[in-house]
């Protein structure tokens, strides 16, 4: 006999609202249905009432974790309509901010995953390390969450002492390599809780068009930083970790390895930070009529903005945001099919979902 178990919208694993109705037979999940929209805010329509400065502040609030990525993508799209090109130093600072944001997002996720695995000490360790990343972000931008770093044609704040930031990054990298990475990659407990569960096959990943670490953990080597480089990524040397198994452990490994790759990128960007302006100083600009599209690789995968403007207008005619979780979340249905009920919180958390981004 099958029965339905509703999980959410007050979620046992993640402090954001969504609901998963699971059809179970005994302890095995047979099928599931997702429900989102509990926090639908209509931000895209609200954006049409904001000017080119206000809209950046608004879109920074689409997501509380990757706020910088949203303004970076939006500004890149708006730069396409104004003809402004950020100077080289700004492009490097954009890379540094994006990689710090990836670090803090991945370490936060690692902490939550550790807690769900029953590793409470590791949860505390991850959050302690994340605090150090937040300290660096605050040292650069003055803020811990909404950094207000991006503007059309560059960035708002300079990195005046890259050597001190470099020391902080090196200390962080050492601590991660010593504590977090070995446990996630070699621990028997992590392996037993994560291996072989919540599998998303490569074929399913292709059909669903999933992105980011979830795609890379299903054997798809896609990363916009390599495939369509933006900012200063073309000048960085790094690897894109890919795992073939498509299970929770593969997602864990991909993110753990990406943490180390982010540190590698940060060291290069800070060491090679070119001199010069951080934005197009004093250059007047105007929007042309048209639509511009930009994509970046956020911590959870590809973010895409399409911005439409009419020449002479104060506000955009349309701002459309395609966030990574919007395309990754439907995969949960396939991941939980055949899983034990007790594994489903960890499976759901393994995609690192962001409901704030999804609901917009």
């Amino acid at each position: 006999m099958s029965y339905k178990i509703p999980m959410g919208p007050y979620h046992p694993a993640l402090e954001e609202p969504y609901k998963l109705d699971m059809i179970c037979e005994g302890e095995t999940v047979i099928d599931a249905k997702l429900h989102i929209g509990f926090n639908f805010r209509g931000i895209e329509h609200l954006a049409e009432t904001r000017n080119h400065i206000q809209v950046i502040a608004l879109m920074e609030r689409v997501c509380g974790i990757c706020s910088n990525i949203h303004t970076l993508t939006l500004c890149r799209a708006m730069e396409g309509l104004t003809g402004l090109t950020p100077p080289p130093r700004a492009q490097y600072i954009r890379v540094i901010m994006a990689e710090l944001e990836r670090l803090h997002s991945h370490v936060l996720w690692a902490g939550i995953a550790a807690k769900l695995m029953g590793f409470k000490t590791m949860f505390m360790t991850c959050f302690e390390i994340r605090e150090q990343v937040m300290d660096i972000l605050a040292a650069i931008s003055g803020n811990r969450v909404n950094y207000s770093m991006n503007r059309i044609g560059g960035v708002n704040r300079d990195i005046t002492d890259p050597q001190s930031i470099l020391k902080m990054v090196e200390a962080l990298e050492g601590e991660m390599a010593r504590t977090v990475i070995p446990i996630f990659t070699t621990s028997r407990t992590a392996r037993s809780r994560c291996a072989g569960i919540g599998v998303l096959t490569k074929e399913q990943a292709v059909a669903l068009g999933v992105v980011g670490p979830v795609a890379r953990a299903s054997g798809l080597p896609q990363d916009l930083r390599k495939d369509a480089p933006y900012a200063a990524y073309a000048e960085m040397e790094f690897d894109v970790p890919v795992q073939p198994d498509g299970d929770v452990r593969a997602r864990l490994l991909v993110r753990a390895l990406e943490i180390m790759e982010s540190c590698k990128i940060l060291r290069q960007a800070l060491a090679k930070l070119p001199p010069g302006e951080i934005h197009t100083e004093g250059e007047k600009f105007a929007f042309i009529t048209g639509t511009s599209t930009a994509r970046v690789e956020a911590p959870r995968g590809e973010v895409m903005y399409s911005v439409s403007w009419k020449e002479g207008s104060r506000n955009p005619a349309r701002v459309h945001v395609r966030t990574p979780t919007f395309v990754v979340m439907p995969a949960i249905r396939w991941m939980v099919q055949g899983a034990r009920l007790a594994d489903t919180p960890l499976i759901q958390a393994s995609i690192d979902p962001c409901y704030s981004c999804t609901d917009r």
Binding site: G37, V206, Q222, P330
Partner: protein, 141 residues
């Protein structure tokens, strides 16, 4: 890497891709969206999203479909004569949520599929143009 020229060949059109602002656009002429989706599946392009634009006055809607092909962003524009365009959900599962979202926000119909509520959890049956609803409610104020 698959050359872009193979796509117009598959679709049976003589037009070529034109790169503008980082997007490779292809004018499709009379090719419909389902033929496009099949061609994209054949070249293993990754579906990204659909963006709906409400045009001024009574000009209707424009939908822009985007796929990724080995890092290249492909764009295809469809001008809607009415308020409907065929669904590609059965060909491209990744299009499910965005078709539902556009149906809820703009009232555009995607014949060939059923809808379940996605983002809107209260109020009228999904499938109305929210802009029109907001405009009417603001007039009342």
């Amino acid at each position: 890497m698959i050359p872009l020229e193979t796509i117009p060949e598959k679709l049976g059109i003589s037009e070529s891709f034109v790169e503008k602002g980082g997007v490779h656009w292809l004018a499709l002429g009379a090719v419909n969206v389902r033929a496009l989706a099949k061609a994209m599946n054949e070249v293993h392009a990754r579906f990204i999203t659909i963006t709906a634009y409400q045009l001024p006055k009574d000009e209707g809607f424009r939908l822009e479909y985007h796929w990724d092909l080995n890092g290249r962003l492909l764009g295809f524009s469809f001008q809607l004569t009415g308020k409907s365009i065929e669904s590609i959900f059965d060909l491209t599962e990744a299009a499910d949520w965005i078709e539902r979202e556009i149906h809820e926000e703009y009232g555009i119909d995607f014949p060939g599929r059923e809808y379940e509520p996605l983002l809107l959890r209260q109020g009228e049956t999904p499938g109305v143009n929210l802009r029109d609803v907001v405009a009417v409610s603001q007039e009342k104020i």
